[in-house]
């Protein structure tokens, strides 16, 4: 098994990409972030042969062109190579039904996009911590 590292952020909103990356760079134990803008491209990235290292965490927006976040979540969860990677839904939607649906599909967490700078830092810290935990559990292979 390859060692996993970094974060895959799937979001079509460039600003949200910037906000997350900027926050991630400001926290301790910052993790590298690779970005894709939709589910199709994200799956292609995850299955590319040259890519040796799978990400620790996938952070996915819901509302995206080509393939939505929940569809991406489904595809990840039925793929034996990928299903162990935690998918965190990262969205503006506060719809409770949507949240329940995503958790039902196997989402690791459901995070609402930050409205303030301090919130963005909190999100980045949380994701970084999650990565660290997973890396610590797996160790080196």
């Amino acid at each position: 098994m390859t060692r996993r590292s970094g974060i895959l952020l799937v979001d079509d909103d460039r600003e949200d990409q910037f906000i997350f990356c900027d926050a991630m760079n400001s926290v301790d134990n910052a993790q590298p972030v690779h970005t894709e803008t939709n589910g199709v491209d994200a799956l292609r990235y995850l299955s590319s042969k040259e890519h040796q290292h799978l990400p620790c965490v996938i952070l996915a927006d819901l509302n995206m062109p080509k393939m939505t976040g929940s569809e991406l979540l489904k595809q990840v969860k039925i793929n034996n190579n990928l299903k162990h990677i935690p998918v965190v839904i990262y969205t503006t939607s506060v719809n409770e039904m949507e949240r329940q649906a995503c958790l039902g599909l196997g989402a690791h967490a459901y995070i609402t996009k930050p409205l303030t700078y301090s919130q963005s830092i909190e999100v980045a810290q949380m994701i970084a911590r999650l990565c660290r935990e997973l890396q610590g559990r797996e160790g080196f292979h």
Binding site: D13, E15, T92, P114, L115, T116, Y117, S118, S120
Partner: protein
């Protein structure tokens, strides 16, 4: 008996006539001279009695219709039983072959029979000839002539009367109102139907204003019958005509002049009841119009629903899509303040704060608008809902504010109803938040929630001790974007109560309020216990 001739018995002259005609009858019947004399004498005897003592006497001469033919003289007399007649009768009896006396009921008559030899040969045609003999016989005296003329006149009058009776019977039996007018427009005749319809006789009809009998919407330009008659043209119209009970029924009215050379013009007219036909026509027309109106209405409803849906769609999309850039505005202002706030002077800090406040207000507005558009979009998910649980959930959502404001919230027992829990929670939250928000300065909010069930409907009262409102604003309060206070004083979008009303109405309930300015308010929500009623 076949009648051939008649003689009224009033005086001596009639007696002469009776004798002469009896002689003549016996003669043409072929009897011998002696038999003629005998028959005529017998008739004269009885006729004399009648003239002397009788009443309404009348002699009819004819031929019997029995197989054995006789000449017959029938003398009618209403005073036949006078005892003074007895002698004459006995004499007459001896002279003729048969004498019969009828004194039954109305018929008082004596019949004298004289057999006619070979009488069976007398044919009906012959009888007609004999009748004309009597009719054409030159009068025996001036008296006879006058008498005949008078009889002819009487006969004619009788015929006219019969014909008139016949005519009247006809007009009275056709279900038509008929009338006639003279050249002046005066009514001269109406049939029974017309009398029954108007309840007025000819004289009464001539006295009243005829236009009053016609519905004011149907009255012709001519105000009177006379004006119509003066035009000397037949007319036909459909009018509502008033009957004697005051009801106006549709009739076809027709009037036509009967122009006779040398005589003044008379008019004939009739009225036919066409009410049923008219009513049917009207009903069909009304039905058609109703159907058209209904179709138009259905079309309008469809259009309205469509535009409503579009509007909701728009509200949803607009508010949803507006959220994104706004979130960025809010984030970057915060980012700016966090990273560079320390370097800003006082003025710049105030500007930045103004920008951030405005964007926060806009965020709440968009959130509420989105909520409002979603309330309508969503179908109710009906389940038994314990309102008390929902109410406690709403209270716990506002725990922070309640503590902050040192508010006291008391809830009475609430029932289980059929409804959508999420929506009812929002309804309770909005009302609770209103009670907390519109509190008086330096007076802690006291919110009391009571409930009563009546006719399968629960009425929930949210009573507060806040600033209240003027009741004249009540109708506006539950509509979109209605705010009674400036936003500097109370934050809000004016959507909260509109959402409340929508949720209540979706549950087939309602919401209203009562208040006095500065004296607290009560909001009343009524919700049916079951939705399918």
């Amino acid at each position: 008996m076949y009648d051939l001739t008649k003689v009224t018995l009033e005086n001596e002259m009639d007696l002469v006539l009776a004798h002469k005609r009896s002689m003549k009858l016996a003669e043409i019947a072929g009897l011998s001279l002696s038999s003629q004399t005998t028959f005529a004498t017998a008739v004269s005897e009885v006729a004399r009695n009648t003239i002397d003592n009788g009443k309404n006497g009348c002699l009819t001469l004819g031929i019997s219709d029995e197989k054995k033919r006789s000449i017959v003289a029938c003398i009618k007399d209403d005073n036949l039983n006078d005892p003074r007649n007895k002698e004459g009768l006995n004499y007459a009896k001896r002279l003729v072959d048969k004498l019969s006396i009828f004194t039954e009921q109305a018929e008082n008559a004596i019949e004298l029979y004289q057999y006619v030899p070979n009488g069976d040969r007398i044919s009906i045609q012959q009888l007609d000839q004999w009748r004309s003999i009597f009719r054409n016989e030159p009068p025996v005296s001036p008296y006879d002539e006058i008498k005949r003329k008078s009889e002819q006149l009487k006969e004619l009058a009788e015929k006219i009367k019969q014909s008139e009776d016949h005519y009247r019977m006809l007009t009275d039996n056709i279900p038509l109102m008929m009338f006639s007018l003279d050249s002046e427009g005066k009514i001269t005749y109406i049939n029974k139907w017309m009398l029954d319809y108007f309840g007025l006789s000819v004289d009464e009809l001539n006295k009243i204003d005829h236009s009053a009998l016609v519905h004011y919407e149907d009255r012709p330009a001519e105000q009177t019958i006379r004006a119509i008659v003066e035009k000397e043209e037949s007319m036909k119209a459909e009018w509502r005509v008033r009957n004697q009970s005051g009801h106006f029924l549709w009739h076809l009215v027709y009037m036509s002049p009967i122009i006779k050379a040398g005589a003044s013009t008379e008019w004939f007219g009739f009225l036919v009841d066409i009410h049923a036909q008219k009513t049917l026509e009207q009903t069909l027309r009304d039905n058609r119009q109703l159907k058209e109106a209904q179709q138009q209405l259905e079309y309008n409803i469809r259009e309205l629903n469509r535009s409503n849906e579009e509007l909701q769609q728009f509200a949803f999309v607009a508010s949803h899509d507006l959220q994104e850039p706004l979130r960025k505005v809010i984030f970057y202002s915060d980012y700016f303040q966090s990273k560079l706030g320390a370097q800003l002077d006082q003025k710049s800090t105030a500007y930045l704060k103004g920008m951030m406040d405005a964007s926060h207000r806009m965020r709440i507005l968009i959130k509420d608008l989105l909520a409002f558009s979603q309330v309508d979009k969503k179908a109710l998910e009906l389940k038994p809902v314990h309102l008390e649980t929902i109410m406690n959930e709403a209270i716990s959502d506002y725990e922070v504010v309640i503590k902050e404001k040192q508010a006291v919230v008391t809830v009475a027992a609430l029932p289980v109803i059929e409804g959508d829990g999420t929506m009812l929670l929002r309804l309770f939250e909005n009302l609770l938040s209103n009670g907390l928000k519109y509190s008086r300065d330096s007076v802690s909010p006291v919110i009391t929630i009571n409930a009563a069930i009546k006719n399968e409907v629960v009425l929930i009262e949210f009573r507060d001790n806040g600033i209240g409102f003027e009741e004249e604003f009540l109708p506006k309060m539950f509509t979109l974007f209605q705010r009674l206070h400036g936003k500097d004083k109370f934050a809000g979008t004016g959507l909260g109560l509109a959402i409340c009303r929508k949720i209540a109405e979706m549950h087939k309930g309602s919401i209203t309020a009562k208040s006095h300015l500065n004296n607290g308010s009560s909001f009343f929500v009524s919700l049916p216990l079951k939705q399918n009623q």
